[in-house]
């Protein structure tokens, strides 16, 4: 994290409650361990990475402002106050890598998909990519990485939501998802299983990809 090229600040919503004696307790089971991991990243970033922990109990106005109803939720908000990536998850196992990669790309590290996304940007309407994952799914990290990097390259046109469906089974049930990765573009096109970047981009465009090298 010390290699980040610019400062990144992410908002992390947890369920930290202040007890009558002034002590703090996290109600959400995953939040404590997840925040401990994020603090390690923060400490090793030479001040380049900050996680702003907000409790949906203590900061309901922020939760409302950012439409946060679940914990933990991590938000990548850009300089223009646009939400780029939302994690409804406490990434563990294989899901850590796309999360860390998203932090680097968000800080301006080279984004492999950027050139093609930019070339096709005027053909993409404001979109949301939802990727349903579990921490043990071998192919989920690749799809999560692609969706995250698409959002970061899209200048605010694409928003990605990574959903751990073990922690959020009601969302899986809502979308009838009984397998991961499960990718939904604009709440319409569900793509089950491992999917390449070109397939997701075609779904966003609604047609063929145009590219000039």
């Amino acid at each position: 994290m010390a290699k980040l090229t610019k400062h990144v600040k992410l908002k992390v919503f947890t369920s930290q409650r202040i007890q009558p004696d002034g002590s703090k307790v996290k109600v959400c089971m995953d939040c404590g361990q997840f925040m401990a991991l994020l603090r390690i990243y923060e400490e090793n970033s030479n001040g380049k990475l900050t996680f702003e922990e907000l409790s949906i109990d203590n900061n309901p106005e922020f939760a409302k402002r950012y439409d946060v109803q679940r914990v933990p939720t991590v938000l990548f908000i850009d300089d223009k106050e646009r939400e780029v990536i939302r994690y409804l998850a406490a990434p563990q196992g294989g899901e850590i890598q796309p999360f860390v990669q998203a932090i680097f790309a968000f800080a301006g590290a080279p984004n492999y998909y950027e050139a093609t996304i930019k070339q096709n940007l005027n053909r993409i309407k404001p979109s949301t990519i939802k990727v349903m994952v579990t921490n043990s799914c071998p192919y989920c990290p690749q799809v999560a990485t692609i969706a995250n990097l698409f959002a970061i390259a899209s200048d605010g046109k694409i928003r990605t939501i990574i959903i751990d469906i073990t922690a959020n089974p009601d969302i899986a049930q809502y979308y009838d998802a009984a397998g991961v990765p499960y990718t939904i573009v604009n709440d319409q096109k569900a793509i089950s299983g491992m999917v390449g970047a070109d397939v997701i981009l075609r779904s966003l465009i609604g047609g063929d990809i145009r590219v000039q090298y």
Binding site: Q97, C140, T145, D176
Partner: protein, 315 residues
């Protein structure tokens, strides 16, 4: 999977070798080529390939027992230690220009003196009504990915291979009951896995039976229909009936293939096109194992190294 520290690949640079694939054959080739100080790039559609979806690997020498995803994490550590760049993408064309190959995807253009095709294979589909409709809603091709969604459910595993037996054994940890539905008399699993299947009280084999349709409703799979018209109630169907080689790109570029669509290679992993090699499940070797794929990949790296010696003076 892209290693940010290694930077973006230079589209004007002519690499010594570009390896297409993300499984053991591709990464075995990459590790050897990197140690030969070859300038390489790995471009794969699926990191880990099919073995990443295998819940247990017990026949990779020196590793007694490991899950597929864990094995591929070990490969990842190895390629990272050698600063090998891996890009998650799919090449759609290869063209010979002067002394090198130009490879294009929708996201990049790359150049290389040699290419190793280790593009693996893709799970074969049954091609029956209901299969596509319920994929991701009860029909699955990956027990490791989707098994945990079927806790205490009744499942069908279609197929009789060693992979099918292993899928059934994994699923039996979660499910209430697992039926292996196989079109022949006796499943073809390795003896050790066959014994485990027979000893597992949750697993039952229905032999000499094909399924002709998968039925369900808006919530997902409800039943499979046998070829004797029997309606057999299950909550999920895991299809494990083998795989087909991802050789379309090779075919379009003139690589010779056999009747299964596998790329024909010689004992040096060479195809009929000078400078193009193939390894692993996409090649015509009779045994489709991680270790044999690695072996073919390694041989491809060696052969390419020799080939490059003849066209480049610095070796």
């Amino acid at each position: 999977m892209y290693n940010i520290e290694l930077g973006m690949p230079d589209p004007n640079k002519i690499h010594d070798m570009i390896i297409l694939g993300g499984g053991p054959a591709a990464l075995g080739c990459a590790i050897y080529a990197a140690r030969f100080a070859m300038d390489i790039l790995v471009i794969g559609k699926v990191y880990g390939g099919l073995i990443a979806s295998t819940h247990i690997v017990e026949n990779y020498p020196a590793i007694t027992s490991v899950s597929g995803p864990e094995l591929m994490e070990m490969f990842r550590d190895h390629i990272n230690s050698l600063n090998i760049q891996y890009i998650s993408d799919e090449i759609r064309s290869i063209e010979k220009v002067d002394d090198h190959f130009v490879l294009k995807s929708y996201f990049g253009v790359f150049k290389a003196l040699t290419v190793c095709l280790a593009t693996g294979s893709e799970r074969r589909k049954l091609g029956i009504p209901g299969e596509e409709e319920y994929t991701g809603r009860g029909v699955s091709y990956c027990a490791t990915c989707d098994g945990p969604f079927f806790t205490d459910k009744v499942l069908a595993v279609i197929g009789g291979s060693d992979s099918a037996a292993k899928e059934a054994l994994f699923l039996a940890k979660h499910a209430k009951k697992v039926y292996i539905i196989y079109r022949r008399e006796e499943i073809r699993a390795e003896p050790i896995n066959k014994k485990r299947v027979y000893e597992n009280k949750k697993i039952e084999i229905i032999n000499n039976t094909n399924i002709v349709e998968i039925k369900g409703d808006e919530r997902g799979v409800k039943a499979v229909i046998f070829d004797n018209d029997q309606n057999f109630e299950v909550d999920g169907v895991f299809i494990e009936i083998g795989s087909d080689p991802n050789s379309e790109l090779a075919k379009r570029n003139g690589a010779n293939t056999n009747d299964k669509g596998e790329i024909i290679i010689n004992r040096k992993s060479e195809t009929n096109i000078p400078g193009i090699y193939a390894a692993g499940d996409v090649a015509d070797s009779p045994f489709k194992q991680a270790i044999t794929g690695v072996s073919e990949g390694v041989i491809a790296a060696y052969a390419a190294f020799d080939y490059l010696k003849n066209i480049k003076i610095e070796y």
